[in-house]
């Protein structure tokens, strides 16, 4: 297992290099650069100044050289410094990542609990009114873009009803409290959770339906077990194994999806940092974000494999 994990990590290194290289090239092809983005039209700056500033940032070097400079720093644990604020990129990420992880975590929790429960109920009551209602909810959930849902939620629950704040991480000017923070995270987390709730629900439903017809479920009933034991130990235990993979895959998507939601809700996570970096053509920050995303997806896949092998004894990674 350990050998397998190490091998998996090594295999992913070329992948990381490839991804970051492509993104580096794409980022450099965006019109304008960090220096132009910093200039406001009100105060004209001479071409010489611009050239000098570009030289300072290394923007006048050929692209492959720029990439190699970035890469050699990364290998030494240095993600570089923001062109805009001169802050250390690792520092910027470290400050913002807890907020993003909180948003992701709460959202994931909502979608797993809701999705698996609704999916299981749907399957156990196949073709009932409940089942049909959940299925319709699932279709709606999958078709509404999360930023749009976010706006609707803000309109109803924050502006009309006033139950939740419209944006931010905590109430300004107040001392930090967990309750206040949870009230702030709820709407963005919910907006982010809906799509995945629907996806998890559909997978749970079909996977449990498949398990229901199995001989070992009949065996469990023939043994005279209580229906709750049959459902939890024999049906759910087997039916949820494939759902683990779907949850694992969705982690990366969730991380990327949080960019827009963070911006809408002014959530001070790394998604918002990324949007600002793109606007400011701040390539060290862009690259830091991309590298982090790639690593998170990689780690999520590894964790999924491990959890899967724990859940299904037939799977052993060599």
């Amino acid at each position: 297992m350990l050998a397998y994990l190490i091998r998996r990590i090594l295999v992913n290194i070329p992948l990381l290099i490839g991804i970051t290289f492509i993104v580096f090239m794409l980022a450099s092809m965006m019109p304008g650069d960090a220096v132009l983005a910093m200039i406001s039209t009100d105060t004209p700056v001479s071409d010489e100044m611009i050239k000098m500033r570009r030289g300072e940032l290394g923007l006048d070097l050929p692209l492959p050289v720029q990439y190699l400079r970035w890469m050699s720093n990364v290998v030494r644990g240095n993600l570089g410094y923001s062109f805009v604020s001169a802050e250390s990129v690792s520092q910027m990420i470290a400050i913002r990542i807890p907020a993003t992880l909180e948003l992701m975590g709460v959202s994931l929790l909502i979608s797993i609990v809701l999705g698996v429960t609704l999916g299981a109920i749907s399957a156990l009551k196949q073709y009932s009114f409940t089942d049909y209602s959940f299925t319709i909810f699932g279709f709606v959930g999958i078709s509404i873009p999360d930023f749009f849902l976010g706006l609707i939620l803000v309109f109803i629950f924050a502006i009309k009803l006033g139950w939740f704040p419209t944006s931010g991480f905590q109430t300004a000017g107040q001392e930090f409290s967990v309750f206040d923070n949870l009230r702030h995270v709820f709407l963005p987390a919910l907006a982010l959770a809906l799509v995945r709730t629907a996806v998890f629900m559909r997978y749970t439903r079909s996977s449990i339906l498949e398990v229901l017809g199995n001989d070992y479920v009949r065996t469990a009933r023939a043994k005279g077990l209580k229906e709750t034991i049959v459902i939890v130990r024999h049906i759910m235990r087997n039916g949820l194994i494939p759902v683990i993979t779907i949850i694992g895959i969705s982690l990366g998507v969730l991380f990327a999806g949080s960019v827009i939601i963070e911006t809408i809700f002014q959530w001070p996570g790394i998604g918002m940092m990324f949007i600002n970096a793109v606007t400011g053509r701040d390539s060290p920050v862009i690259m830091g974000y991309v590298l982090l995303t790639a690593v998170i997806v990689l780690v999520a896949n590894l964790v999924t494999d491990i959890v899967y092998s724990v859940a299904d004894p037939r799977i052993r990674y060599e």
């Binding site: 009949r218 065996t219 009933r221 043994k223 235990r237």
Partner: protein, 333 residues
């Protein structure tokens, strides 16, 4: 010996794609305490459905028990509440299924699959249940049960898995064991071992057994009485030796010719009865076997009752008396 199970006029249907499938068409039979009987017939003749119904294991929908009574120790199981049924399942009536590969839960250790049955019925604590599970596994001849109890089904061979299934069924010492083709999915050599094991376990534990098979030859040595089913009907019932000596139904005759003989190569099982069983979706008016029957007469357009032929024998053939007195099968008919 006193009666353990009595089934009266059991009818089971399934609804599928708008059609009504008559899987079991009013069967009646009984089983005494400690007795072992066989139910034989081609696949699709309603053997499994008939016994599932008495365990309350027919999925509804699509299945429906149309009518009948199932008395077990004097109680009608078809009227029992689901809690009462649950208390009987596994404890008083247990089942071994055809395919040990799919009948065990693949992701749970086999030990747990035994102890959960024990704990559901016997009020033993974890250690006692474990002890009992190990003892039962040892009794079925599984090597090393103390260690292997932690293993998962995929770590056992097919024959071992069926031993585990048998141990699981017998772990609460039921009064009735229903074995639904327990050897069909196994290799020929393993089949004989499992049959032998069941015979030994029965003489040791004394339970009654309903042995379902599509192979008359396999069960001949282990049962005292045979019930022959065809398209949801009982067509013949007789003590095993009488049935072999003188079948009173042409279908049984066909089955006997189809029993694989001692030579291992003969694969001519039931294929030797020509034609196909009737479509269960169509209402049956006459004798269900008539279209395939070489002894068919006009009378067969009428559904024959199950005649009492004396000596504990029954036959659902209009010509059973002729079959009884004929000197050679087929000759005088």
């Amino acid at each position: 010996m006193s009666q353990l199970l009595q089934i009266k006029n059991l009818k089971v249907t399934f609804r599928s794609d708008g059609a009504l499938i008559r899987a079991v068409n009013g069967i009646s039979y009984s089983v005494d305490e400690g007795e072992s009987i066989a139910i034989v017939g081609e696949s699709g003749s309603g053997k499994s459905v008939g016994v599932m119904a008495l365990m309350g294991l027919i999925p509804n929908p699509p299945g429906k028990i149309e009518s009948g009574e199932v008395f077990f120790k004097g109680r009608d199981l078809l009227k029992a509440s689901s809690a009462e049924l649950r208390a009987i399942r596994g404890k008083e009536i247990a089942m071994v299924f055809q395919d040990p590969m799919t009948s065990l839960n693949p992701v749970l250790p086999v030990g747990l699959q035994l102890t959960e049955a024990i704990q559901a019925h016997m009020g033993l604590d974890k250690d006692q249940a474990r002890e009992r599970a190990i003892k039962m596994l040892a009794l079925t001849g599984l090597p090393n049960p103390e260690q292997r109890i932690k293993d998962f089904p995929f770590q056992f061979s097919g024959g071992q898995r069926q031993r585990i299934m048998i141990a699981m069924a017998l772990v609460c010492t039921p009064d009735l064991l229903i074995a639904d083709e327990p050897t069909t999915a196994l290799d020929v050599t393993i089949q004989a071992q499992i049959v032998e094991l069941m015979r030994e376990l029965q003489s040791e534990l004394g339970m009654a057994i309903i042995w379902i098979s599509h192979n008359l030859g396999l069960v001949a040595g282990v049962v005292t009485r045979v019930i022959v089913m065809y398209s949801g009907f009982i067509v013949e019932q007789a003590p095993v030796d009488d049935l072999y000596e003188r079948p009173l139904h042409p279908y049984t005759l066909g089955l006997l010719h189809a029993v694989p003989h001692v030579d291992v190569n003969s694969q001519n099982r039931l294929a030797s009865i020509e034609g196909m069983p009737p479509d269960l979706r169509k209402p049956i008016s006459g004798c269900p076997f008539a279209p395939r029957c070489p002894y068919r007469i006009e009378k067969c357009a009428e559904l024959p009752p199950l005649f009492d032929a004396g000596d504990g024998r029954q036959s659902a053939c209009w010509r059973w008396q002729e079959l009884q007195t004929a000197t050679t099968f087929g000759e005088t008919l």
